[in-house]
């Protein structure tokens, strides 16, 4: 198999790692809505912290993107 073709396939496969990150980000807000449903008064307190959870989970998706880019271009 040529190197270029293998690079393309590798980069495509590397982005499969984002599946987990997508599920994780959905979990952040799913649990936020659950928590507000149980206790509407905690909306602001939890609402300030969901962004940290989102960014840290999103970072994993970004790591897999970086691996894909490294395979493609390095």
């Amino acid at each position: 198999m040529e190197l270029e073709a293998a690079k393309m396939i590798g980069a495509g496969l590397a982005t499969l790692g984002m599946i987990g990150a997508g599920l994780g980000v959905g979990q952040v807000w799913a649990n936020y809505f659950n928590a507000i449903a149980r206790n509407p008064a905690s909306k602001d307190e939890i609402g300030a912290n969901i962004w940290i959870g989102f960014a840290v989970t999103e970072a994993i998706a970004i790591f897999s993107l970086v691996v894909a880019l490294i395979i493609l271009f390095v």
Partner: protein, 251 residues
């Protein structure tokens, strides 16, 4: 589109060209390249922007703040609260560094969204330099404060001793991966965002009249990039506070 034939594969825009660092004032000391580059220029612009924003806004020293002074005070208060909540009372002496870090990264990320500018945080070497300095400084602070008891950070507190064989390497690797994750998170978010913007611009140039659709998407993505710029600066800063708390208070 005359330029459509110049780029590779007929795509009118090269998304990687915007990250090229070139020297504006070449300075060479023997083998060492210390040129003033476009990255340096935008770092200086970001620092000056922060100084001007804070300095000019506070100038009035009104007791009841107007709009600009209110913004400056709110940014101070937000970071002060962040340091107090995440590091505690001993963290107050690190507030100037945390505040400078946050404002520098915030303005750097936001200024990078101006068309034609350069996002210096989209280079791994910049974010890694910041992250490794923070990592080494936090470790030094922890060791200076606790001495050899600092290694207790890696030993589990209430767990049975035989689990320590597995847990200590895991904790050690997770600790050593902190500067990497901190730097790559910021760098990859900025780089991916800007590549995305350039690729959608290419789509607009490719399609003629139907280019209105990628244009609408581009407006949405630019709004998302503003959110990501602010969020990533905030995340970098709050994780620095969390790591500092770990070193000062050893769990």
């Amino acid at each position: 589109m005359a330029e459509a034939t110049h780029a590779e594969g007929g795509f009118p825009v090269d998304p990687m060209h915007q990250f090229e660092v070139h020297a504006i004032v070449p300075i060479k000391l023997g083998e060492l390249d210390l040129s003033f580059t476009n990255a340096s220029l935008w770092m200086v612009i970001s620092a000056l922007a922060v100084l001007l924003f804070l300095g000019l806004s506070i100038r009035g020293r009104a007791l009841v703040p107007g709009r600009m002074q209110s913004m400056a005070e709110m940014s101070y208060e937000m970071i002060a609260n962040m340091v107090r909540d995440n590091v505690g009372q001993e963290g107050r002496k690190y507030f100037p560094f945390i505040f400078s870090l946050f404002m520098f990264l915030l303005f750097g990320n936001l200024l990078g969204l101006i068309p034609g500018s350069f996002t210096f945080t989209s280079h791994i070497i910049v974010t890694f330099a910041l992250a490794i300095v923070i990592f080494l400084a936090v470790t030094a602070i922890g060791v200076a404060r606790h001495g050899t008891k600092f290694l207790g950070l890696f030993f589990p507190h209430g767990a049975p001793l035989w689990t320590a064989v597995i847990l200590v390497p895991i904790e050690l690797i997770s600790y050593l991966s902190r500067p990497i994750s901190l730097s790559v998170r910021l760098f990859a978010n900025m780089m991916a965002g800007h590549i995305l913007l350039k690729v959608f611009t290419g789509f607009i140039l490719l399609t003629g009249f139907i280019g209105v659709i990628p244009l609408t998407v581009l407006v949405g993505i630019t709004a998302l990039e503003f959110l990501v710029a602010v969020l990533q600066a905030y995340i970098f800063t709050i994780l620095t506070c969390v790591y500092l708390n770990d070193a000062i208070h050893l769990h």
